[in-house]
Symmetry: C2
Amino acid sequence: MKIKLTMTALFLAAFFTIGFAKPQPEKQATWIWYPGDYDIWLGNKMQNRRTERGAFFPPFWRLYSHYVLVDYMKKADLPEAEEIEIYAEGPYNVKIDSKMLPGMPRKVTVPAGSHTINIKVYSQEVVPALYVKGSLLASDSSWTVTYEDKEWIDASGKVSDQSGTVRLNASSWNFNDPLSPPSKFKLPVEPMAAVSITKENGGALVDFGKETFGFIKLHGVAGQGMVNLYYGESREEALSLEFCETLDRIEITEENAGDLTLDHSKAFRYVNIQTEGNVRYDSVSMLYEYLSLEYRGKFRCNDEQINTIWDVAAYTMHLTSREFFIDGIKRDRWVWSGDANQSYLMNYYLFFDSPSVKRTINLLRGKDPVSSHINTIMDYSFYWFISIYDYYLHSGDKAFIQEIYPKMKSMMDFCLGRRNQHGLMEGLPGDWVFIDWADGLSKQGEVSFEQLLFARSLEAMALCAEITGDLESNKYYKELASDLKEKLFAIYWSDEKNALVHSRVNGRPTSDVTRYANMFAIFFDYLDNGKKQAVKEHVLLNDSVQRITTPYMRFYELEALSAMGEQDYVLREIKDYWGGMLDLGATSFWEKYDPAESGVEHYAMYGRPFGKSLCHAWGASPIYLLGKYFLGVKPTAPGYREYVIEPELGGLEWMEGAVPTPEGDIRVFVNDRRISVSADTGLGILRFKSRIKPSVKGATIRSVGERVYEIAIEKGKEYEIRYRR
Amino acid sequence: MKIKLTMTALFLAAFFTIGFAKPQPEKQATWIWYPGDYDIWLGNKMQNRRTERGAFFPPFWRLYSHYVLVDYMKKADLPEAEEIEIYAEGPYNVKIDSKMLPGMPRKVTVPAGSHTINIKVYSQEVVPALYVKGSLLASDSSWTVTYEDKEWIDASGKVSDQSGTVRLNASSWNFNDPLSPPSKFKLPVEPMAAVSITKENGGALVDFGKETFGFIKLHGVAGQGMVNLYYGESREEALSLEFCETLDRIEITEENAGDLTLDHSKAFRYVNIQTEGNVRYDSVSMLYEYLSLEYRGKFRCNDEQINTIWDVAAYTMHLTSREFFIDGIKRDRWVWSGDANQSYLMNYYLFFDSPSVKRTINLLRGKDPVSSHINTIMDYSFYWFISIYDYYLHSGDKAFIQEIYPKMKSMMDFCLGRRNQHGLMEGLPGDWVFIDWADGLSKQGEVSFEQLLFARSLEAMALCAEITGDLESNKYYKELASDLKEKLFAIYWSDEKNALVHSRVNGRPTSDVTRYANMFAIFFDYLDNGKKQAVKEHVLLNDSVQRITTPYMRFYELEALSAMGEQDYVLREIKDYWGGMLDLGATSFWEKYDPAESGVEHYAMYGRPFGKSLCHAWGASPIYLLGKYFLGVKPTAPGYREYVIEPELGGLEWMEGAVPTPEGDIRVFVNDRRISVSADTGLGILRFKSRIKPSVKGATIRSVGERVYEIAIEKGKEYEIRYRR
């Protein structure tokens, strides 16, 4: 909100050494902490909540911790004395101009004039967060924070100059209530009723009608004995006492009789309730737990199956967007970098919730020193780099790049230190080379796909180095990227195969061709036009190349095809593949789907009959494909300061939708003779094909190729174009 | 304890792949954790307990945290099935041969045969420690532990090989009771009565007769209002409501009436109790809190003042030996590397408590990455390196060197990265160059003292590299040390001054001479004999060189003089300086003592009238000097496998004492005609001067110089030598 500056305010703004343009008597304070620390702490809490058949099942990678003792600082020049109120998660002390106040004061009056306020907070258990209620001194990201203040005093009482102390701007989320500190944060819940309850095998099979997440609630529990709950994403899973992945066993006593809400959240559509002893209950419901998010992205078209796919994808995405973007809600309930990378991209076309992106990026990275790849997976380290630049492109959030860049550098140092003698990445002991779940996929030697991601990561480093003004590193990473790209083609490109081959083992390129490196090379724009067409024909549209059976890699496969204008093909694939899951009764999209399987085969994975997750974030890619390649909205400058709209109906009769941006939405309607667009942000280019010269009021149409036209889109205006496909 | 091997045991020992020589049905289990983690956690707890006039007063340096999720592993070949009982500080899961058991089982039966047991424990709040009751599987340091197990499974259910996982042997202390986990550890307490209570200024001044530490207890408290306690290490401090360093204010209500023990431990001799409202109480006592330690070192002589000095030094040392070796009990109650280095050395001549040394070394180091010097002080980083080799020399504990060596390397990398263009250490922003509390002491430029400690640190690195078998680094550090030592003399030695000068500023050596570098150069044995004598005459015994007024540096000054055979002088100095504090009523030794001051001047420091600590570990050095340079017992091979006894009466008529070693004591009695020694350990050399050829039964006397003789000392034998001084 912009407010008029009064004369006083203008005077103050000129007078104060600490810049603030708009002094407000009641500035909103918020809980603040050391950057990244809350994300790490909350992540530990969340990722350690997974159970498997009652067993505690935490991640197998390194978890980090917050700094237990931090010093917050604010320098301000106060026109008059200001009383502040201090709330902290842990014991604290307060210094004004390096002089410590006695006790642990809740209220402090800071005298008028130029002062430095330090508040030091300690907490081992939770993040030592701080909330300061005040006007000019209200806690927000203008406060700085450090984990070592180096403030010693000499024997005569003189205070050190602290010039060696590194301070960062404090981080926050949206915890604005002093009485609701960050450690108490919980996702909201909402009561939901069951759709049906049937008797099965001596128990009750409760169906909530669709995949969901939360806490089962038993009403009117009485008697003594056990209640055993067997959860199922499928009916079959809930009925399998022996193999269902999650369960709860609760002993009922007088203590917990009455209405009983389970302690642990679970993912399920069905729950099979079995009692022992004389336990009975009146009814069953649940508390649906969710992250409060706005569905800003929208998509509707003439094809109802596509509309349903979009809706189910959006729901899948919502279920897996929680404290962080997780992989799946039944399993692993962990944060995986490769999975999250897709969630970020889908998020840009659905919620555009930047705090969730930043929390997830921070959690994945943890702290220094780096002792393994992110999630121990080589490709997942690379997705992490790439995702940061993607975030910048969509959000324009330079402050976050500044904050995370030192951690990008140490992460990249780790990667660079693991190159082999040819400067390529190859799995070392402890490295998981993942790529995809696919039978017989070789991870041996120097895999081309990994080098491709590595090159893209180096480019992301170069860009972020430039953003932060680290020009020396910018040059360094640019050179590394360009060297690696040269090697990539010299080593892996086969003129015979018209493709990048899969790997080089013992110094010899293999003759295997897989889709992975080839499809990424297309949308990374690493191929010239001839090679692109060759790859499309000989790899992407070639059924003899091993098919992809995970929505995870279908995401990129269809992205590559979309980037090459194959929207018609992509639409059919979406209908076939995602439609195929719907036909099998999916109410959220799956971790893996192989149309060749049948019946309960669909639910098995990892050697377990119900090991597969039936609600997996990477299943939601139609959100992204439809927004980016059908509506065709893409940022071309950070934060949508500039963007393009290149709509492609891909066989649809009409479509309409909205794409969220940091400053409002971009709206698009298209049918075969009319395009309507309007935008709340930036400077756009609408680019489209037309067999006739199109007409539009109030804008100039440029012809930019054979039957290709462009219109500049200004924010706040409505454009309606008449054209002919 | 050695036990006879039965035939079965011999068979098992030959049969098992995992080595254990003595299978015991009831092996003692102990709580185990990731090496260093408990020390960090306990250190955070302790170092954040300091208050100053009621204000929370934590350290200004970086604090670390434990790993929140760790995986313990034991491989064993069981002759028969074994039932184990599991206790953990946090949720855990159990895997046998990579297969996770359901739930969180307390009891598990591991079948006979070769198996791998993994137990993974999570805890954010406290260290995720583990206790396994069992026979072959009982938890101890034969279990390994990691903070990232890298145990992923592929889509078909196959478990990764985990070959990239780094596992260390688990650490423990002495927590052998499964129901007393490490997080519940508290130092023991003992009730102590006051010596006198007098009315002063409307309150009660309670005197406990000597410096002490613990919790004040008020008996029979009644009424309503406040009790205010003002603590004093001196009478004057307790009576100074305005300037006493520590205080407590408790509101008395019906809730806490009766017997009231204060929550926070304090250091004091006096407590001034003032009440408000109608509060009254019957009596006052205290709970003395201490670390349970055995006074193994002993010293007695004909001079009662020296005996008192030894006793008060031992008490000072005991008061400051707590969860860790701290600096002072009133303040800072923190762990400082320079202070601790002296505590370690004194400990070797008093308690020989190795767990306390290891805890303190671990806490000081924290974890990677290194972002500042230890305690932010350059010299304190160097003392840390030196203290580790010292610990090895005294204890012979190779396992600890193996464990800490990687952290020594990263700490040294940090130091090496801060050298200036001449390869010398100079204070950078954020570095505290401390040396000593002394008026006008320059810290500018390249200070010779720092280079000297740096060279010694590099030598310690070289030695530890050799111990761990890192021969390449051994060579590297050796070369660095030798280069630096050459520079040291080339730059700082002044033939004109007969000394190392204090510093070089802007490329020019200064003409100042201070004692610091010169005295260290003597006992580091960096000087040839001519230079040693020159330094002794022109620096150490030269009153025009600025005097040292801290017991801290007197420790090293008197060590240097002792190393040069000046025991007579040193004894007079001890009597004068430490005797001087006793004359002023000291019941423990001080942080600083300047005989030129008088009255309450003695209590002031840091610009505060009672800022000085009157119980400071570094005040206890007579313990060390008397044991090492009067009784003359010194290890010459790790863990006292070899040692020398070079007794020097230094003007005493007789002395007797004991020096502890890892395997028993070394006992010495000396007067002017008789020396008696006996030892429980190693191979010793008794070296002494005699004007006549000495006589001894059952041993051969070798003459090794003019009037210098040696006898080889075997353990378990008594030696009595007749000689003449």
